[in-house]
């Protein structure tokens, strides 16, 4: 039989992580209803939930043209994130491995990349629009610009960090350069590549939303900006939370894939199970 204090501790442990979020939401609700600010400027969480429910399920039509369209808006954004991210991943890993492996490739390509790298991805918006018009393409281009460099740098870093003795062991078994790259350098670089991918997916979502605000007429970012014009701050907040959730979800997927692919690291790092 559990004693009363230890029961309290058990209950506390259960709810520990939820306490601050619940207090924040309750405080926000109270503040919005208190009338200190005009209700339109900071909609109460309950109002956001109502707007969001209609956006997702088409419950009462309060979001008008967005009613029931959430899944399509999210899919449109996710498609852009995925396309740009995939492109960045393929090119970033390939070019990064070439730079990390070959001094010649490094000398030829790296200076150009290092000059382009500090250019903020959003500053490509004007060129992206004149090159690709208003549709998916400029958004995908921006996502690519934002996620390419983290992947590239992490791949270079991963290849350079590859233990030379592993390569000697590979050479000893008679492996050709291509085989050594596939079977030793690439797997050795994977932990670093995955940390780059996680940074990249974050900036991918940031840039999709930015692109959708200015260069596209669909997606969660577009809904956010459009609702701002119509003074629907409840939908603005619902969009913000949606983006946060989608970003969290995509990071979670990468994390799970990494945990599976890098399962050999368990026991050799501080990472705990399921990390």
């Amino acid at each position: 039989m559990m004693s009363f204090p230890s029961l309290l501790v058990a209950i506390y442990k259960r709810i520990e992580r939820g306490i601050v979020p619940i207090l924040l939401i309750a405080g926000w609700e109270t503040f919005s209803r208190s009338g200190i600010l005009p209700p339109a400027l900071l909609p109460a969480p309950s109002q956001v939930v109502v707007a969001w429910a209609d956006w997702v399920f088409g419950t009462d039509g309060n979001t008008q043209s967005y009613s029931g369209r959430w899944i399509f808006d999210s899919a449109a954004s996710a498609f852009r994130v995925f396309s740009g991210f995939l492109l960045a991943m393929l090119l970033g890993v390939t070019i990064g491995m070439a730079i990390g492996w070959s001094r010649t490739v490094e000398a030829l390509i790296e200076p150009v990349l290092q000059i382009l790298r500090p250019v903020p991805p959003v500053s490509w918006i004007p060129l992206a629009i004149i090159w690709f018009g208003i549709a998916d393409k400029p958004a995908i281009f921006l996502v690519f610009m934002g996620s390419f460099f983290p992947v590239l740098l992490s791949a270079i870093h991963g290849v350079k960090g590859c233990d030379r003795d592993l390569l000697r062991a590979g050479a000893m078994t008679g492996g050709t350069t291509v085989k050594l790259l596939c079977h030793i350098v690439f797997p050795a670089a994977l932990p670093s590549i995955f940390s780059g991918l996680r940074i990249a997916i974050g900036s991918a979502w940031m840039l999709t939303v930015t692109a959708e605000m200015v260069a596209v007429k669909s997606g969660v970012g577009y809904v956010l900006w459009d609702s701002y014009y119509f003074l629907r701050y409840d939908i603005v907040i619902a969009s913000m939370i949606s983006i946060g959730l989608l970003g969290f979800l995509s990071d979670f997927v990468i994390k799970r894939i990494a945990a599976h692919v890098l399962r050999w690291q368990r026991g050799s790092t501080l990472q705990t199970k399921g990390g």
Binding site: D163, D165, L166, R168, A169, G170, A171, M172, T173, G174, G175, T176, K179, H183, I184, P187, A188, L190, L262, R263, W264, Q265, R266, G267, S268
Partner: protein
């Protein structure tokens, strides 16, 4: 004819900062016959690892030639299996994949790799750990995986660079026993680098005592002791005394 023949080999490492060269090996000649177990013994800096790297093909001599089976060595190859100082396993591959890494490089299918690995996993006594990752095993077990990987290639020569240096005394002694058994079973030729006098006398059919700066071979001593070798026996200690006298610092005039 000797299996490994090292003919007047020198290796000078350039030091671009000081515009001088460091003589790691100075005119070294030595022959190793098939089936021999030769220990390269010497203090750090005597060039014993350099010599091993030359045989492995990781490095090229500045002068002279290194031949294995009559072929001049220019690059690493599967005819020379190397067991490194650190286990140097692919940490992302389970034990059996590491053991069969050579077959993977040859593009051989998974089923055959798995089957061929098993014999060598058993030879080094790791049955039951086939699917463990290196990070889940102890240092001694990982070193056995490294040995199994080298054996699977069925190499002419096995080159070992202080493979048991990181192990405790007890594990080291066990590994010595295992290694001698494996060497007899596989009838291979082993070149074994060590700085331990006892280790070299426990293992080798020959001990090449080296001296440092510049790296030279002081003496090649054939070891005529019964196995298993008793490190407390008189004969063992006579060899040890002789080796110690060789390893004592040479008179100062030789340093110039």
């Amino acid at each position: 004819m000797a299996l490994i023949s090292i003919d007047h080999v020198s290796r000078i490492f350039g030091d671009s900062n000081r515009k001088t060269g460091i003589v790691a090996l100075d005119d070294v000649s030595i022959d190793v016959g098939r089936g021999e177990f030769i220990c390269l013994l010497g203090p750090s800096g005597c060039g014993k690892s350099t010599l091993l790297n030359l045989i492995a093909g990781f490095d090229e001599p500045s002068q002279g030639t290194v031949r294995v089976g009559g072929q001049v060595i220019r690059r690493p190859g599967a005819d020379r299996g190397v067991v490194f100082q650190q286990p140097t396993l692919m940490p992302w591959l389970p034990v059996w994949e590491n053991v069969a890494f050579y077959l993977k490089m040859q593009g051989i299918g998974k089923a055959i790799r798995r089957e061929k690995a098993q014999r060598f996993i058993e030879m080094v006594g790791l049955q039951g750990f086939e699917n463990h990752f290196p990070s889940e095993l102890s240092g001694g077990m990982n070193q056995r995986v490294g040995i199994a990987r080298a054996l699977l290639m069925n190499p002419e020569v096995i080159l070992m660079d202080e493979p048991f240096g990181a192990l405790d005394e007890q594990t080291k002694m066990d590994m010595h026993g295992e290694l001698i058994r494996i060497w007899r079973e596989s009838q291979s030729t082993i070149v074994f680098v060590t700085h331990g006098i006892d280790e070299s006398l426990a293992l080798g059919t020959h001990v090449a005592v080296m001296s440092a700066r510049p790296g030279r071979i002081r003496e090649l001593i054939p070891i005529d002791l019964d196995r298993p070798r008793d490190p407390t026996s008189t004969a063992f200690n006579d060899y040890k005394r002789h080796i110690l006298s060789l390893l004592r610092p040479e008179p100062v005039k030789d340093w110039a």
